[in-house]
Symmetry: C2
Subunit: 257 residues, 2 copies
């Protein structure tokens, strides 16, 4: 099964420790990996259809302290779609002058939404179809750039539709917020003052965040499985959507119905 990793922070933060934790799970996930880093409106996007264990691109990401406020990473175990570069998550599109990044864990059976708009899949995965449909429906629902609250209301209506076709754990970001939808498994953790040490669940690697952080830093990590021992990971519930901004969970506001 694929592995998802998302990060949302109130200050640009490097994700090397968590990505190293994710990459150790790559042995059984040889079908590619990808990671996208927002720097304000800009985006760095690294993908490879070679496994994260052997990819020089993954090696770069593990060693290069790219600091970002919104990150989405994915390690792929192909269920639908061939092992090809164009099928590697995360996927990127532009809408309203912002890049949007999407990664999916799961499997949608017989999912063929009507795509009549400006967003078409380049590859042949159910995941990219779902992303294109979400972008199309967001574009239809709002004439110009909505607020994060408005977007969250629209997404809360849209996400159950692809989710009805199977398993739809997903991460979505436009650089302002990180949206997470849980179908079967997704875990979240907030790191904030006082920062302590964390130990990777799968590897003999620890980091003490205290000297690397200030009292105001807040970092939210979402992953398929908890990446560390000794930290308070919380499981999202099936059907739950969460919105993260500046390293905090944003409470669901009232949505017009």
């Amino acid at each position: 099964m694929c592995q998802l990793l998302g990060m949302n922070a109130n200050v640009p933060t490097d994700v090397m420790f968590s990505f190293a934790g994710l990459a150790t799970r790559a042995d059984e996930h040889k079908d590619g990996f990808g990671i996208a880093f927002f720097e304000d409106r800009g985006l760095r996007h690294f993908i490879d259809h070679h496994g994260a264990r052997s990819s020089p691109v993954a090696e770069l990401v593990k060693r290069y302290p790219i600091k970002s406020d919104n990150v989405i990473a994915h390690i792929r175990k192909a269920t639908q779609g061939r092992v090809r570069l164009e099928n590697t998550h995360p996927f990127v599109r532009e809408l309203w002058g912002r890049y949007w990044v999407f990664a999916h864990n799961g499997d949608l059976k017989g999912y063929a939404p009507r795509l009549h708009g400006a967003f078409r899949p380049v590859g042949d995965t159910d995941s990219e179809r779902a992303f294109c449909w979400l972008m199309q429906e967001l574009a239809k629902a709002h004439a110009s750039v909505p607020s994060v609250e408005e977007l969250s209301c629209t997404l809360r209506e849209l996400l159950p539709q692809p989710a009805a076709h199977g398993t739809f754990n997903m991460l979505l970001s436009n650089g302002q917020a990180l949206w997470a939808h849980c179908s079967t498994q997704l875990h979240a953790l907030q790191r904030r003052h006082p920062f302590g040490a964390a130990h990777l669940a799968d590897e003999d690697l620890s980091v003490d965040f205290a000297p690397l952080t200030t009292a105001n830093d807040r970092v939210l990590i979402v992953a398929t499985q908890p990446l560390t021992h000794g930290e308070a990971w919380a499981a999202l519930q099936p059907g739950e959507m969460q919105v993260y901004v500046d390293g905090e969970t944003v409470a669901a506001g009232p949505c017009r119905g």
Copy 2:
């Protein structure tokens, strides 16, 4: 001034030698670099708003033999738009289920095309505005994916419009063809059987292509300035557009007027 590099080949070919030649020109171009590699429909896109001399991403690209049939690279000297990641060429959009990649050398004065369609700039460069306008107009001109010949006819009509606002040397690719438009300077070179040795113009680096190639290989290189000594680079003329497919120049066919 910015440096452009494009490659179009009939077999996936690595571009390390030419990129090394380009990167040596990066001392005066500290405002970022980017390179995009098609692998069939898939795309790898590496950008950095740090100079190509110091960027770990450029280091990866110089060492990692990514083989591609269509490549566009750009080294930036900012004229319009700040030195930021979102202003770093090449730019990418999706249209008709294909990625499109664009890089520009030059400066468009007072260029504010009407962008009412599905393509909006994320950054604030004249270049990304021109790219979004081209994508919008291509989308308007064709209901679904046209042939390379039809696209070339439409581009031949469109390209003079941004070019009328200043200097518009540009490279565009959708993974099937490479389009080059010259305003002031752009040089092209075809390498084919019998392959010989080439020596980089700016650096003490040579390569003998003969043992690396077969008799059927054809590679077309386009660059702002000739990158090598002793090869027959041809200058494109002001106002000229060229189309390259499978390492060959495609003759302009009759366009319906």
